[in-house]
């Protein structure tokens, strides 16, 4: 039953698609949806007998494949050994600048967020950075961020082997065009509309007159996600996995 696909499953399946072709993806310990997307890709590649996908979950003891302290993630990225990473932001603007520090005048921000973490480095050296933020409101997607934790684009001559690849929100999927630069709406998630997205986005973006709907996972992928991937997920994100199982059950009941 297609109707029973949950919004989160669409996000997870979309992330797996965005990650297609990567060999090593790093995911934050508190990023269960990106982790689920990476795990789904890994399962798909394993099923197809393709080259394995490596997932490093940061801050996790069980899934910590690093042995050189918290510097190793950054070293590893600097060596070009990490193909994809996820970043969010309290604010994200149309140039793909992200703000993880605070709203208002720096440093006495009216709203203070935790801080830039590794973004000011990783955004430059990880080839495929996926911006992921479920909340899609004008508060998040602003014309210009109040503080640039990490810039979306750099002028020619700046050493940069990585940068923004896509922006995934609770309403739609955008690709980032580094040449223009700017976002282009690729697809609208089921239940949302172009008009709603324009309304909720504080920056201008390119789009077709009638953008397609975000593709739903086909039944085989959905079965993989609800089976072995959810089991994998359970080990690291037990609360999230339980919540997903409840959502899936609720969606099935409703359908």
């Amino acid at each position: 039953m297609i109707a029973s696909v949950t919004p989160r499953e669409i996000l997870i399946a979309t992330i797996a698609r965005l990650l297609d072709g990567v060999h090593h993806v790093a995911v934050g310990a508190s990023s269960p949806i990106p982790a689920a997307g990476a795990m789904l890709l890994r399962a798909l590649k394993a099923r197809a007998g393709a080259e394995p996908v490596r997932i490093s979950i940061l801050g996790s003891v069980e899934h910590n494949f690093f042995t050189n302290g918290s510097t190793e993630l950054f070293d590893c990225a600097g060596q070009g050994r990490i193909d994809a990473f996820f970043l969010g932001g309290g604010q994200i603007d149309g140039q793909a600048n992200i703000n993880l520090v605070g709203a208002g005048d720096y440093p006495r921000s009216s709203v203070r967020w935790p801080g830039s973490f590794g973004s000011a480095y990783l955004y430059f050296v990880v080839p495929r950075v996926i911006l992921f933020r479920e909340e899609h409101t004008p508060r998040v997607f602003v014309e210009k961020v109040d503080f640039i934790s990490a810039p979306g684009v750099s002028r020619p001559g700046i050493h940069r082997t990585g940068g923004p690849y896509a922006l995934l929100t609770g309403k739609g999927l955008f690709a980032f065009d580094r040449a223009r630069p700017g976002f282009r709406l690729e697809s609208v998630h089921p239940g949302h509309s172009l008009g709603e997205i324009v309304e909720a986005t504080g920056f201008a973006f390119a789009h077709d007159a009638a953008p397609p709907t975000t593709a739903l996972p086909d039944p085989a992928i959905l079965a993989l996600l609800r089976g072995p991937v959810l089991d994998d997920l359970q080990e690291t994100y037990p609360d999230f996995a339980a919540q997903m199982r409840r959502e899936i059950a609720a969606a099935a009941d409703a359908a």
Binding site: G69, Y106, S109, G115, A120, I148, I158
Partner: protein, 284 residues
């Protein structure tokens, strides 16, 4: 400054003695949540009351930093992030930033590691890619940008700017680890940022879950995870000394307690109440 009386004498005398090594105006390195925070040293430090501290979070901070800020001991914080993780923002930190009560030196994780690495090597600086065009860099007049003298491109490509991070030397590094031996060798496992902190510090204070009798350097398997005594100034036992944080391979974080703190510390009064109550509990 927060005054908390009536419970100080209940604190472990070894930890109190260690806390005496901290004097006002010192620069202190503290580890990230999951690497081994010596939460056990937090109250002795507050009792000690040495203020005007410049904290360096390696590379991010949480509960301990928030408590030291709440107690009024902190002049500045250099960090790449500060929060209570799943329990949300760090309330005393956020308030202090809003009030302009502390100087915040926003960094990015690998820049903190780069600064420690420079200190470890006796170098004045370490270069780092990235950062150019960020407001992190724009707000760090102590960082410098030079043109990479090894730039491979033709002159037509123009210069290749690169950021240099100055060495981060600290007066004291404080952390918690699973075990130490009688000689003062500390087992840090794969949390090698703890070694980086100690290399960069004049004084290193360590609390541990337990002291083992055999030398940790005696066999190569345990030796691989050891910070040698050469870098360790003092060790004291503090069982469950990272609580409510977890200690890798030993115990998990107590998220409920972190949430309790997060809620309580929204106000200065709530923070003071929490600290007082916790102190009484700890003393029982």
């Amino acid at each position: 400054m927060l005054r908390m009386t009536g419970w100080e004498e209940k604190l472990d005398p070894n930890l109190r003695r260690m806390a005496e090594r901290v004097v006002p105006g010192m620069r202190i390195a503290l580890p990230v949540d999951y690497a081994g925070v010596s939460m056990a040293m937090t109250r002795p430090l507050i009792e000690r009351g040495a203020g005007d501290l410049d904290l360096v979070c390696v590379p991010t901070g949480g509960l301990q930093v928030d408590m030291l800020i709440g107690a009024g001991l902190v002049r500045s914080v250099e960090t790449s992030g500060l929060s209570l993780g799943e329990a949300g923002g760090a309330p005393r930190f956020n308030q202090a930033v809003k009030d302009g009560a502390i100087v915040i030196r926003d960094a990015t994780c690998p820049a903190i590691h780069a600064g420690l690495m420079a200190a470890q090597k006796g170098n004045p600086f370490t270069p780092i890619r990235g950062l150019i065009g960020s407001d992190v860099l724009a707000n760090r007049p102590d960082w410098k940008v030079i043109d990479n003298p090894f730039a491979a491109g033709s002159p037509a490509d123009g210069p290749d700017p690169i950021v240099l991070i100055p060495a981060i030397h600290v007066d004291v590094a404080i952390f918690h680890a699973p075990m130490a031996d009688r000689a003062g060798n500390v087992w840090i496992g794969r949390r090698r940022e703890l070694a980086a902190m100690a290399y960069a510090a004049r004084t290193t204070l360590v609390t541990v879950e337990r002291i083992v009798e055999e030398s940790l350097l005696a066999d190569e398997i345990t030796a691989a995870g050891v910070l040698p005594a050469l870098y360790v100034s003092e060790v004291a036992v503090a069982e469950r000394g990272a609580w409510p944080y977890g200690l890798w391979g030993e115990y998990g974080a107590d998220t409920a307690e972190l949430q309790r703190y997060a809620k309580a510390a929204r106000s200065a009064e709530g923070f003071a109440d929490y600290m007082r109550a916790g102190a009484l509990e700890a003393a029982q």
